[in-house]
Each structure stands twice: as C-alpha cells, then as structure tokens.
C-alpha cells in the first residue's frame, strides 16, 4: 500500500483533475493518492470524477481555501 502525494496547489482547472487521473492509472488497488489543491472547482470536479470511477474519496480542508482530496483506488 503506497501513498502518493501530488502538489497541485496554484494549478487551475483542469490540471489537478488530469494529474489525478494520470496518477490513479499507475496506482495499484488500495493505494492512496493525496491531491493538494486550492482551485475551488477542483475540490468539486476531482471528487466527482473519483466517486463516479468507484474510488473512495475524502476531502479535507487543510487551510482557508486549500484542500487535500484523498483518493483510495478501488
């Protein structure tokens, strides 16, 4: 079980989402991706895509307007 952290702070949509999609492809089931974002639309479209894809998703607001989207590949 690995944990991968991607820093997408300051990246505008859709960059965080594409980064997450590419990372998930390379990961094994059970691995966890921590995506750091501060683009308000990314904390909506990333979890939305991940849930539709069937992964476990959690969002944590780590600072004002800064989030960690935690995705466990399923």
């Amino acid at each position: 079980m690995n944990e991968i952290i991607i820093d997408a702070l300051g990246e505008a949509c859709p960059v965080p989402l594409i980064k997450a999609q590419n990372a998930i492809k390379e990961m094994a089931v059970g691995d966890v991706l921590v995506l750091q974002v501060d683009h308000s639309c990314a904390m909506k479209n990333v979890p939305e895509w991940a849930r539709k894809d069937g992964h476990n998703v959690e969002i944590e607001e780590v600072d004002d307007g800064e989030w960690e989207v935690i995705i466990e590949k399923a």
Binding site: L9, G10, E11, A12, P14, V15, I18, K19, D38, H39, S40, M43, K44, E61, D63, D64, G65, E66
Partner: protein
C-alpha cells in the same frame, strides 16, 4: 426550518451548490436581466471599454477607431468608468464571488506558481479578448445570451468554441502541464 438553519450554518456556507442549481439560478437572473434592463447579460464588451479608458489615460485616442466611432460608444466612453452599466456589473460579479468565498471562509490570495502559468494567463487572456471582439461576445454575450435570444449566431459560436476548446485542451496537456 432546520434546513434553513443548516444552510446558514458555518458548514452550510462551505457547501458547494450543485451544477443544476447553479444553472437554474443563473437562468433566473439572466431572464430578470433582460426583463429589467432590456438587454441580456454580457461581460466582454465592458472589458474592451476598460482598455479604451486605460489607453486614453496614457494619452491615446480611440475616437477614430471604427469600433468606437458610433455615438453610443463615444457617449459610454465619455461618461466614464463608474457610469458604464456593464462595468458596474462586472465589478459586482467580482465582489459577488468574493462575498461567496468569504462566507465560506475560503478566501486566500493564490499566488502564481510557475512561469508556465504566466505564459498561459498572458496568452489565454489575450486570445480571449481578441476573439471576443471578432465574435461580438464571449461565453456570456455571444453564447449564453445569443442562444437564449434565439439567435443562430449563438449556435455557430458554440460549435467553433467547442473546436477551440478541443485544440486548447491539446495545447494545455502538451505545453502547460
């Protein structure tokens, strides 16, 4: 009652609304805009005026440019920044978004992180500004308001906008990621 309380709670303020809720509400305000001002919503026209005012500030003259040659355009420019209805609406749009962000306790100045972002912002911004002038509007004036106005131009804009978005996506993935 509980729902209302929940909505105004700290947590409720943080919650993002659904896209469909956004679509319905934007549509309602858009229809109100046409009914109350006699003209639908537009964003990019006033941004051109911002450019003209700045150009004048530096001693430039736009009066003989074709785009500003009409009596209406001259009057708008002469009346000034704070008398242009479209400018007021654009400023209000920024403040409305700021307000929503503050009420969600999510405001933060987000700094530019890389050179790529600078190039993307400069290039993207310029292309949008130039393109909007040719097509007589942006995603709001030419697309949203155009289609709502039963204008065929809205659909033509949509088609080529989509082609542009496809090309833009390819450029983005290749050079800006």
């Amino acid at each position: 009652m509980n729902k209302i309380k929940e909505f105004f709670s700290k947590k409720g303020m943080k919650k993002a609304w659904g896209y469909v809720a956004g679509a319905v509400l934007l549509s309602v305000v858009q229809v109100i805009t046409l009914a109350s001002t006699g003209s639908p919503w537009g964003v990019s026209g006033p941004l051109m005026n911002w450019g003209a005012w700045t150009f004048r500030l530096f001693g430039g003259n736009v009066n003989n440019w074709h785009r500003f040659s009409s009596v209406g355009a001259q009057a708008t420019l002469d009346a000034g920044f704070f008398s242009d209805p479209g400018t007021i609406r654009n400023l209000a749009l920024i403040f409305g978004a700021l307000l929503a962000t503050l009420l969600a306790s999510q405001f933060k100045i987000k700094k530019i992180k890389s050179k790529k972002q600078i190039i993307a912002a400069v290039l993207g911004g310029f292309m949008m500004g130039y393109g909007a002038r040719l097509a007589a509007g942006c995603n709001i004036g030419a697309l949203f308001s155009g289609i709502a106005s039963l204008s065929l131009s809205g659909w033509v804009f949509a088609l080529f906008l989509f082609f542009g978005a496809v090309a833009g996506s390819k450029i983005l993935v290749k050079y800006f990621m």
